[in-house]
Symmetry: C2
Subunit: 379 residues, 2 copies
């Protein structure tokens, strides 16, 4: 007897595919061979037209839904939206969730052994872009016999991958689901990433990225990076509602230790993240964000880029998201309407800032579910 | 012949007063003796009713206006607003600008010699609050023979001091000028400070604040703190207008070095700040911000606190300031009107974020000047 909810996928086993065909990256560098670790939920139908690709954001991985064991207390990162009867309904769809190249959850990344040296790649792992990930995910689609995705879906950096799929392989995607995302980073977005990278790279334990060889990790720098990131994921209001100016102890200490609950929370979040995540991967993910700018090749004209797409688009944003605000989604929507694409866009009231795409919200879930349920698939 | 503009104060000589009377702080600790370094501009009139106290913010000091030498290229931090014919018109007012206790510009602070040990205070320097600074500034007023300030003025943390003066010494201040400030920090404000402190305190060169003894400075941590602070001083729009996604070199490098102009700018700002500012002072200043909460003693009722004040109030905020947004100033204004105080409040259109209080803006300067010119003083 399972302890999981009736609409849970239960225990999920990750799978691995090894690729020997070299992948040439935007940087001009090549990665000769690599593993893609991925999970699937639901079943591919006979015509193979019900596959949905789920793309993860900065700090997530292939584990998007279900649990890894009966005793697992925490499900995958988008379990809220993936499962039987959920927005991405696994009774209808065959969902594929890969860990991206450069990630630290199993797919080949900086922690993996470089076959040329027999040691971890570390800083020799090439910088990858959203466009590179789409090429990498296309290889996975080929291997799984998926000629065309019913939908490619993701939030934040994951939404950028869905957008890039519509641009890069217009005939292989029917619907792009782009949630809490942006057409490119703003100068302020890049600036926050620059501070995070500076914190990691100036940690003496970083050793220019070769910390694996020294058997240490730049936990201190990664903690700072995550504390900062966390502030940008939450809204000012949500932080205020959750913590206000509540103090940690009964009275003020007037020292440089932690005085307020919000500090205590951030320290905890930073430390637990630093204990589980790889610093080189964090750097790589922030760079993938920085470089994303699909309109650049058309001189900044995003509508011109979208005019070559064939898919339909669903976009959603959240009122208190200040990392990728509704305004940023509206820029995408405007370019899509200018290029006469078929686009649905909804802005949801939420107090949860950028994290809202991961948080239960009846209107968001209802709209997302309705859109997905209207996607036509064969029986 | 001077190279300075006709409305410049020219070369200014800082002055120092030594105080031997112990000052008891909010923390319960005492500082036995201390220097106040300050500058004055203009002359005190016969009745002594034309004195204006200028209070500085986080990273500034006593040098508010004029130059320190004929060859000095940069004037004091509020030279825009202090001088003959300027908003705080030195033809009318006698302006006093002290460096606060705990500062690193000359007034006694963590870098000063602790007379008890013969070594720099470092982390033994007590945490100080805005209320402590007001007591400290009152000592200076007494020494200079100023029974009542015509006005106390400041922006950001300086505005908090002006507010605190109106509360703490209601009969010694006629006008409180509170610009781009807040009634207390939000959880998000505290969170940013916590990240900055973490960056400094986890720098191995910090040595628990005793870095002077090791003849090093935690420049790396202080650089990160300042890079982060700088993002919060600028608006997203201003950063976008100034840098956009302009790249530093002609083409992308696809590595972990600096790629975009905004990164280059932040690195430069962080490094130049780390070369001039003391890390222990930075910690102390962020703590003074965190602790500021004048309504706390009345259970959060700011109007109740203001009901005991006697001064008039001038408040100003700037549309794109997201560190202390117009909403935060309106909270103060609401409490002042609820307590039936005399308050003028203006919100100015500006693209300069929190820094706007230091930036030329015709409407802001005109309104500030008009208010100051209406302050009655004897001939």
């Amino acid at each position: 007897m399972s302890n999981f909810a009736t609409n849970s996928l239960g225990v999920i086993q990750p799978q691995t595919l090894h690729f020997n065909e070299p992948l040439t990256l935007a940087s001009g560098k090549t990665i000769d061979e690599y593993d893609i670790v991925y999970e699937t939920y639901g079943s591919l139908n006979a015509k193979g037209d019900n596959a949905v690709l789920v793309c993860h954001a900065l700090s997530a991985d292939h584990h998007a839904a279900g649990y890894h064991s009966e005793s697992d207390s925490k499900p995958g990162w988008w379990d809220l939206c993936i499962g039987p009867g959920k927005a991405i309904d696994t009774n209808r769809f065959f969902v594929v969730s890969p860990g991206n190249l450069g990630q630290c959850g199993g797919s080949t990344g900086p922690m993996s052994i470089n076959p040329k040296t027999g040691k971890a790649y570390g800083p020799d792992f090439p910088v990858v872009t959203v466009s590179d990930w789409v090429n990498y995910q296309e290889r996975l689609a080929d291997s799984l016999g998926i000629a065309q995705w019913a939908a490619v879906a993701g939030g934040s950096l994951g939404g950028m991958q869905a957008m890039q799929w519509s641009i890069q392989f217009p005939t292989r995607i029917r619907h792009a689901i782009i949630i809490a995302s942006a057409p490119k980073l703003s100068a302020q977005n890049i600036a926050f990433n620059a501070v995070a990278r500076q914190a990691i790279m100036s940690d003496p334990a970083f050793h220019e990225g070769r910390y694996y060889d020294h058997k240490v990790v730049p936990a201190s720098g990664l903690k700072i990076a995550r504390m900062l990131g966390h502030i940008t994921y939450l809204s000012d209001d949500a932080m205020g509602d959750k913590f206000g100016r509540d103090v940690k102890n009964e009275q003020l200490n007037y020292n440089y230790g932690v005085e307020f609950q919000v500090e205590s929370y951030l320290h905890y979040q930073g430390e637990s993240f630093a204990a589980r995540f790889d610093a080189n991967t964090y750097l790589l993910m922030t760079k993938a964000l920085d470089y994303f700018d699909p309109a650049e090749k058309e001189g900044g004209d995003l509508a011109a880029v979208f005019s070559k797409t064939d898919s339909q688009f669903f976009l959603a944003s959240f009122t208190t998201d200040w990392r990728f605000s509704p305004q940023r989604s509206r820029e995408i929507v405007r370019a899509l309407t200018d290029s006469k694409r078929d686009v649905s866009y909804l802005e949801f009231e939420s107090n949860h800032g950028h994290d809202a795409f991961l948080v239960d919200n009846a209107e968001y879930i209802a709209a997302f579910s309705a859109y997905m349920n209207n996607i036509e698939i064969s029986e």
